[in-house]
Symmetry: D2
Subunit: 130 residues, 4 copies
C-alpha cells in the first residue's frame, strides 16, 4: 500500500535560510503516516487508546533540495516489507513543481503500553496495514 | 519569589525574518518556570507524576523587540498574588544587551489528573511555591 | 472579512497530558491567517518577498478547553477594526464536537524589510485585506 | 575534536507517550554543534552573517532508548573525516543515568549564500574546525 498526502509549509517551520528546518520533516512524515492509516480504516489514536504504541527505531533522511515557505508538498508513504513486530516505512516528498526534495526510511515497532515490551501487531489491525 | 533563567536562542526557533518566532516564547517561559520550581525544591515532573497537572488558562504576551538567533536571553519569572487553585506568573525577557524584548502574564491552575477537575495546591507543594 | 480553516492536530503537537501544548496555538492562528489572505487574493509569501513583513505586537489567548491529538479543529479568523499601520486579528477555535477551545486576539503591524521601520499597508494590498 | 553539551528536556518536547518526540533530536544535535563551534572560537551566527550557510545533506538517527521529560542529556558531537566542501558529524546522547539513548550521523555541506552553490570552507574558519 502507499499513499500521498498534501501539506502546506508553515511559516514557523522555516529557518533563517528560508528553508524548512531539517527537524520538521519528521512531522510531515508522521502526518502522512497517520493519514495512510486513516485511509486504511484505522486511526493511530484508536491504536494508542487501545494500548499499542509505535516508537521509532531509526530514521534516515536524504535531503536533495530545500522545501520553502508556502510550498505545497506531496508526501508519499509506502510500507516496506512484512509487518510484524516491526513496521518499516519509505517516504518521498515532492514540491508543487514536481521536484524531489527528500527521501527517507523509518523503522518503527509495536510496543504494548502496559508492559512497555515489543509486541506483534494484533490481527485486527494487521488487515488494515498490509 | 522570582527567578532569572538564561536561555540561548536555537537556530530552529528563528523564522525567515531572522527573529524568534512568537510561538517559541511560551517554551522559554515554561523552561524558566520549571527552573524556578526546581530552585524552590520541587520539580514539575514530580508534581505531575504525583497526579497534579497545571494547564494554562490564559497567556498574554507583549512583544517589544525581536529576539534573534544566538541571543543569550535572561528570562525572569515571578509568581503574582496568592497561590491556591490558580497560580499566576509574570515574565520578562531581556537580551545580552539588557534590552527588554517582551513581558507576559500567564494564568495556570491545578488539576487532579485522576478526576480532571480543578483542585487546590496541596500543602506539601505550597511551602515551595509561596 | 472572516474565514474558517480546518486543521488536524498532529501527534508531536501534544504533550504528556495528551493536550495540544499552549505554544502550538500560535501556529494554528498563523496557518488560518495565511489562508484567509490567500482566499482574498494575496499570499503572505508574496508580501514578504515584496519587502513587507508583519511582526506580532501582542498575543492574548484564553484557553477554555484542551484540544487533543487527532482533533479536527476549525480555526476562525476575523480582522478587527481599521487596517493601516496595524492589523488586528481575532481567532476562535472549535473542535469536531463544536466545543469552543479557545479565543485569541493578536496585534500585528507592517514593517518595511529594508528600513525595518513601521509602515502603512500599501494600497495594492489594502483592497485585499479590508 | 569532540565536545559534550548538556541539555535539559523541555516539557513541550515530549509527546503523549511521555517520550521526547523523534523530531526533537535534530534540535539537540544542532545546539551541541553550535556549542562545539563556539568552543572552538567561532559562531555559526558569524559564519552565516559572513555569507556561509550549512545545509544538511543527510541525517541518520538510531534510537536506542527514549529520552523523557526533565532528563538531563549529554549530547556529544564529533567531527568525522576531512572538512572541505562537506563536514560530517557523529552524535551520541546519554541520559543522567549514563544510558545510551541514541547515536546519529549527519552530513552537512558549505554553501555560499550569494551564489547558493556549494563551496569549500574558507581557510579562516578551517583552523577552528579541524
Amino acid at each position: 500500500m502507499d499513499w500521498t498526502h498534501t501539506i502546506r509549509v508553515r511559516y514557523a517551520e522555516c529557518d533563517r535560510m528560508g528553508f524548512v528546518h531539517h527537524s520538521i520533516y519528521a512531522l510531515y512524515f508522521e502526518e502522512a503516516r497517520t493519514e495512510i492509516l486513516r485511509h486504511r480504516g484505522i486511526t493511530y489514536k484508536d491504536m494508542e487508546d487501545d494500548g499499542l504504541i509505535m516508537p521509532v527505531r531509526s530514521m534516515n533522511i536524504q535531503f536533495k533540495k530545500a522545501a520553502k515557505y508556502d510550498d505545497l508538498l506531496r508526501v508519499s508513504v509506502a510500507v516496506v516489507g512484512e509487518v510484524n513486530v516491526r513496521m518499516d516505512f519509505h517516504y518521498t516528498i515532492l514540491n508543487q513543481n514536481d521536484e524531489l526534495l527528500c527521501t527517507a526510511d523509518m523503522e518503527m515497532f509495536f510496543v504494548n503500553k502496559e508492559t512497555m515490551r515489543p509486541t506483534r501487531l494484533p490481527e485486527k489491525y494487521k488487515i488494515h496495514m498490509t
